[in-house]
């Protein structure tokens, strides 16, 4: 991991985190603001990062195991930021993340994203990840950590991502 600078890490008990939906918004806004100040356009950068991070946190909110901490870390390597979410998993959650990892290997990601956006009914649970992969051009890796946790890492290059 040479050249990677950890900028910020926030962690809290998963129970506390999942006790209020507003935590997703608050953590994503806070983290985005803190790590964006030395980007060329801090507000624009924070807007983009907050949007991507919030989707990840909403996914973690819905899919996680019962015990342990959730931690959210942002590291920087030049123009790239690496967002890492580490969280406890039970079998159901692990199943979800394994399925998501499969989805993200599809060749037709862009179409998958579009159809998930407009799918009828409750919606595709992988929508958020697809969006980050397609719209934010994130490289996403999902790795089980010792059977009881999962590490979701998204590498994004948001500077100059808008015309």
């Amino acid at each position: 991991m040479s050249g990677m600078k950890p900028l910020l890490e926030v962690s809290m008990g998963i129970d506390a985190f999942s006790s209020a939906w507003a935590h997703c918004d608050r953590i994503s806004s806070y983290v985005a603001r803190m790590v964006s100040h030395n980007r060329a356009d801090p507000l624009l950068y924070a807007n983009l990062l907050s949007s991507a991070l919030n989707e990840l946190l909403e996914i973690a909110f819905a899919h996680h195991g019962p015990d342990g901490d959730i931690s959210c870390r942002v590291s920087r390597s030049g123009a790239s930021d690496i967002i890492e979410l580490s969280l406890p998993c039970d079998d159901a959650a692990l199943g979800f993340y394994t399925g998501a990892a499969e989805q993200l290997k599809r060749a037709d990601l862009a179409e998958a994203y579009q159809s998930a956006l407009f799918s009828p009914g409750a919606g595709d649970p992988h929508l958020g990840l697809l969006e980050i992969a397609v719209d934010y051009k994130a490289r996403i890796s999902i790795l089980p950590e010792g059977g009881k946790r999962v590490l979701v890492a998204a590498t994004v290059e948001l500077e100059g991502a808008v015309s």
Binding site: L43, N54, E58, Y113, Q114, F118
Partner: protein
């Protein structure tokens, strides 16, 4: 159930525009039932084109996006006469990209990024041609403003926002002189901001936040700054009161908003005073033709009162060829001539005879500036008001 609405919606029936502002990150679709109901009611009542304005929608998650998207998709499917235009802003970065799939997927829905060509002089001012003008101007006005600013309430350590910062010279100077606790400088020209960042880097200044944004729709919280400046810019908008309202909003109660503006027809010089005066009267008309008011200066007080400020202070100062190097003054006039008698005059369709006479006044002003016995002046109005606490 929206106990804690983090968003607001308004519907303007006259222009069939439904606006959503704030933050839309509900957990469940049912959390934004009131919004869904309002949107569907609004949609049902319109004919022709319906506008969904999301320019000030700072955040949206997929839960909310899907509610809005599916409602609009259903509506245009049912009603072939209905067209929907989603108006996004480039300022947020994500918003156009997020809504674009709607247009790709559904005929009769269009996504328009609004801040292209949205104020009258944009094409003149955002082109590189204006950069040399701004550089010279700020260098010359700073001599005066540096002494005036404390009188208008700027104290060391204050938090400052410079809205419509241009190429950011003022921000760098204010940073050096007043050591603000925070300094945000915002403009709507990416060229200018790139330039501004370079200038700051050259001076080794790293803590100015240069931000891309729209002064009419600032993505900045209410009551954020002690001192809000907007220099030489109210005069480029056709509706300056809208900008002033935003400056007021982001200023802390008890803080002050400081604006500077010109009255170009009062530029003067000797010798050749008449030719000079003629040309600057024409400058005022030329700007008015493009819906900008380069005569704004003396109107500052009225605008500030109407915007709700109190304790209004107004100063007038004259930048002259005698302040410093007369060549600086001459360079500024040359830059004016290049833009005013160049692209602007051409775009208005002026005759070659007119343009020749128009140029002559600028050349006479330059002559007055460089003439050891001459005098050349450019008057500025600096006004500030306090936001009542």
């Amino acid at each position: 159930m929206s106990v804690d609405p983090t968003y607001s919606v308004t519907f303007n029936e006259n222009n069939q525009e439904f606006s959503i502002a704030g933050k839309l990150r509900p957990q469940n679709a049912s959390d934004i039932k009131p919004l869904e109901a309002a949107l569907s009611k609004a949609l049902a009542g319109v004919r022709g084109t319906f506008y969904l304005n999301v320019k000030r929608l700072a955040r949206i998650n997929n839960v909310a996006f899907r509610v809005i998207a599916s409602l609009m998709a259903q509506m245009v499917e049912k009603r072939v006469d209905l067209k929907i235009e989603v108006v996004t802003s480039s300022v947020l970065g994500w918003s156009t990209r997020k809504f674009l799939p709607l247009a790709q997927r559904i005929p009769n829905i269009k996504v328009v990024e609004y801040d292209k060509e949205f104020y009258p002089g944009q094409s003149f001012l955002e082109e590189g041609g204006f950069i040399p003008i701004l550089r010279n101007q700020t260098r010359m006005t700073w001599r005066h403003e540096r002494n005036l600013l404390p009188r208008h309430g700027l104290t060391p350590g204050a938090s400052i926002a410079d809205i419509c910062c241009g190429i950011g010279d003022f921000a760098v100077l204010a940073h050096k002189e007043f050591k603000p606790s925070r300094l945000l400088a915002l403009d709507h020209s990416r060229t200018s901001l790139d330039y501004a960042r370079k200038v700051a880097a050259e001076f080794g200044v790293t803590d100015i936040e240069y931000v891309y944004g729209d002064a009419a729709e600032l993505m900045i919280d209410d009551n954020s700054f002690d001192f809000v400046t907007c220099r030489h810019s109210l005069q480029v908008f056709d509706r300056p009161e809208l900008i002033l309202r935003e400056l007021y909003r982001i200023c802390k109660p008890g803080g002050r908003v400081y604006i500077t503006n010109e009255k170009n027809s009062h530029c003067l010089g000797e010798p050749r005073g008449e030719s000079i005066q003629w040309t600057y009267n024409e400058v005022a008309k030329l700007w008015a033709h493009f819906n900008m008011d380069i005569e704004f200066g003396p109107k500052s007080g009225r605008y500030m009162m109407d915007a709700g400020f109190d304790d209004i202070r107004i100063d007038t100062f004259m930048v002259t060829n005698r302040d410093g190097d007369p060549q600086d003054f001459a360079d500024m006039i040359q830059a004016w001539e290049n833009v005013y008698a160049g692209q602007m005059s051409r775009d208005r369709g002026d005759t070659p005879e007119f343009i020749a006479k128009f140029r002559q006044g600028f050349q006479d002003h330059i002559h007055a500036a460089l003439n050891p016995k001459g005098y050349a002046g450019w008057p500025i109005w600096a006004a500030s008001g306090r936001k009542p606490s």
